[in-house]
């Protein structure tokens, strides 16, 4: 009477455990020292950048800022897995990915400091990357559109969209997944499940056991990865990127991690979250794990990263403010006659 007409499963990818021990046979990437060094360096950069931003914010030199503390493996794994000609469509917590792709650190600082020029990206390598997305979830459809353009032009490229667990509740994200499935778009949706959307834990965000299964609703490939295992993130996202670029369609990769910090510098997570849970999460630190796995000494990398950031901060602080007329300059390709008088204030 009841016939099973479809079955699905969600798998989770893990390569190394919390102590850095392999959980089974590893992919070739796991022995690629240059790659591992890049991943480690990226995560160290993420952490140092975040720390410096919070410091600038506390001293009134930057606006509200959201760190990626504890979840650095996601933006870094993503950025390193992408090809240069792919397009990154980030949310607001992937500064590390943007920097790795080629956005200048001082540009990111300028943006978070309240200056639109921070989104102008002088580096041609990131000319097509989308800027920080403040409205949660909208960017998923923009990514689908970027992918549709690539597909339309028969390009072997893809769009990689990063979003949070909270974003998966937005209809936009579902609509993006659905059209990606219907049109077999070259897009990868990376969901950073850091367990919290401001004060809302993921269990109150959805009744779904996994966020990966949101992909099933659109008929796209879907899997989980241990989001604190940068090798797993890199591997899962890399596989999805290759699938997208080769015409295999879209994938949703849910990366399981944890937001160790407050939501942002304006938030106090102590009001709504058990500190024990945070302590527990700290033990899964992705940086310590990769160091344990690889045996690489982080000190020289840290020093280099620190210098790079300080130099960028100095350039940021030296930026000359825009004149106020700049707010009109890019509304249209040229200022329409009827509003030109407003320029005079």
């Amino acid at each position: 009477m009841d016939e099973v007409v479809a079955t699905f499963e969600i798998r989770c990818r893990r390569l190394i455990d919390e102590a850095g021990r392999p959980l089974g046979p590893l992919p070739p990437t796991a022995t690629d020292q240059a790659l591992i060094t890049r991943l480690l360096e990226g995560m160290l950069l993420a952490r140092a950048f975040d720390r410096r931003c919070v410091n600038l914010q506390r001293t009134g030199q930057l606006g509200t800022f959201a760190t990626s503390l504890g979840q650095e493996a996601v933006p870094v794994g993503v950025a390193v897995a992408m090809h240069a000609d792919d397009v990154l469509v980030p949310s607001y917590r992937e500064g590390a990915a943007q920097i790795i792709r080629g956005v200048a650190i001082e540009e990111l600082l300028a943006y978070w400091g309240g200056d639109e020029r921070g989104h102008a990206y002088a580096n041609p390598a990131v000319a097509e990357d989308l800027p920080v997305a403040i409205t949660v979830g909208n960017q998923a459809l923009h990514a689908a559109g970027v992918a549709a353009a690539m597909q339309h032009r028969r390009q072997a490229r893809c769009a990689v969209c990063v979003m949070g667990d909270g974003a998966t509740s937005k209809g936009d994200v579902y609509e993006a997944i659905n059209v990606a499935g219907a049109w077999r778009l070259p897009v990868v949706f990376v969901v950073t499940n850091n367990r919290w959307a401001i004060s809302t834990p993921v269990a109150r965000q959805t009744g779904a056991e996994t966020l990966a299964q949101k992909g099933l609703a659109g008929g796209i490939a879907a899997l989980q990865a241990d989001g604190n295992d940068v090798l797993a993130v890199h591997d899962a996202v890399g596989e999805a990127v290759e699938r997208a670029r080769s015409g295999g369609g879209a994938t949703l990769v849910e990366c399981l991690t944890y937001r160790v910090n407050d939501h942002n510098t304006a938030d106090d997570a102590g009001r709504y979250r058990d500190p024990a849970e945070v302590e527990e999460a700290r033990r899964a630190d992705p940086i310590a794990r990769l160091i344990a796995f690889s045996g690489i000494d982080p000190a020289p990398l840290e020093a280099a990263v620190g210098e790079r950031i300080e130099a960028a901060v100095a350039r940021y602080l030296a930026i000359v403010p825009e004149p106020s007329a700049a707010m009109f300059g890019h509304l249209h390709h040229e200022i329409p006659e009827p509003t030109r008088w407003q320029l005079r204030g």
Binding site: A144, V146, A148, H152, E175, M327, H332, H333
Partner: protein
């Protein structure tokens, strides 16, 4: 209403075909625009001629259509999206107001958003609920978004070509009541019209009638009636709601001293208010009479049985004009 020539739907199809033929980056997307040719046949034949890749049926999701168009536009494509009726545009407002209109500013020119959203405008065709909206003033309030409403087949052709070629986002509202109402000769010459110019479509000396879209026809009829009474009405077709060419209206009112604004949408915060406000600021001393607005009422557009009672009628326009003319 000449028998020859094209009606507005055909003129739109013609402009779309020309844009598709001229520019490989142009593509159409929307619900049922492919084999069906769109609910109003505006894309009839284009799917067959240009293929499913360039005339794309989408899933049924308006937010998606607007978001997808933005992503495509950042890659340099020129998507022309169709939303079946203006009442279904609301889900696009997030993307239009928060992203399409801002991407250029947000990135200081690095990324741009050359997209067009076509949809219907206005009532009077006995349609169900949500099929008769006239919310151009909401769109006009969004900086960075152009809003265009053509009133004749030839203007629809020229304005649509301009909208598609414009490097920034444009919402193109097509008066449903006019789709098949009139025919005129439309030269398919690829010539675009300017996107920020009101069109003085009838000169007159006693008062200025400002209208757009289908309401222009009530303005025309009113002007004809008034002419019989010896009142000479100038008619300005706004056509590009935003940016709004106030200068043309002001110049007219400076000559006539009287102004009546006609539009279908609700009165409160309708676009007529913006026009009246510009006049009150810039042409006050020329005014010989209060600026009147003949508009839809501040209530929900009724279902077909009462829709005629909602829409501005020629009589209401004539009366307002007489009041303005007789005002001392």
């Amino acid at each position: 209403m000449a028998a020859a020539g094209l009606n507005m739907v055909e003129a739109i199809t013609c402009a779309l075909a020309r844009a598709l033929a001229d520019d490989p980056d142009v593509l159409l997307l929307g619900q049922d625009i492919g084999r069906k040719g769109g609910v109003f046949q505006a894309t009839a034949g284009l799917h067959e001629r240009f293929g499913a890749d360039r005339v794309r049926d989408t899933p049924l999701a308006e937010t998606m259509i607007s978001g997808l168009a933005i992503g495509m536009a950042t890659q340099g494509l020129r998507p022309v999206a169709e939303i079946q009726f203006l009442g279904f545009l609301y889900p696009c407002l997030d993307n239009l107001a928060n992203h399409a209109s801002r991407l250029r500013t947000r990135t200081r020119g690095r990324l741009t958003c050359p997209l067009v959203v076509r949809t219907t405008h206005g009532g009077g065709v006995h349609a169900p609920e949500h099929h008769s909206e006239a919310i151009e003033s909401m769109l006009a309030h969004v900086p960075g978004l152009r809003t265009v409403i053509p009133s004749t087949p030839a203007r629809a052709y020229g304005l649509l070509l301009a909208a598609i070629r414009d490097p920034d986002p444009v919402v193109f509202l097509e008066p449903t009541r006019l789709y098949r109402a009139t025919r005129e000769d439309v030269a398919d010459d690829g010539v675009a019209l300017p996107l920020d110019r009101c069109h003085v479509e009838r000169e007159g000396s006693d008062l200025t009638l400002v209208a757009w879209g289908a309401a222009l026809y009530e303005a025309r009829e009113a002007a004809a009636t008034l002419a019989v009474e010896g009142i000479s009405a100038e008619i300005v077709d706004v056509q590009t709601i935003a940016p709004f060419d106030a200068a043309t209206v002001i110049a007219s009112v400076e000559r006539t001293g009287r102004c009546v604004i006609v539009h279908e949408g609700a009165r409160r915060a309708g676009f007529g208010a913006e026009i009246a406000a510009e006049i009150a600021e810039r042409a006050l001393t020329s005014l010989l009479a209060p600026v009147e607005r003949v508009t839809g009422y501040d209530t929900v557009m009724p279902l077909p049985r009462l829709e005629r009672a909602y829409l501005p009628t020629t009589e209401r326009v004539v009366e307002a004009c007489r009041r303005a003319y007789l005002y001392r």
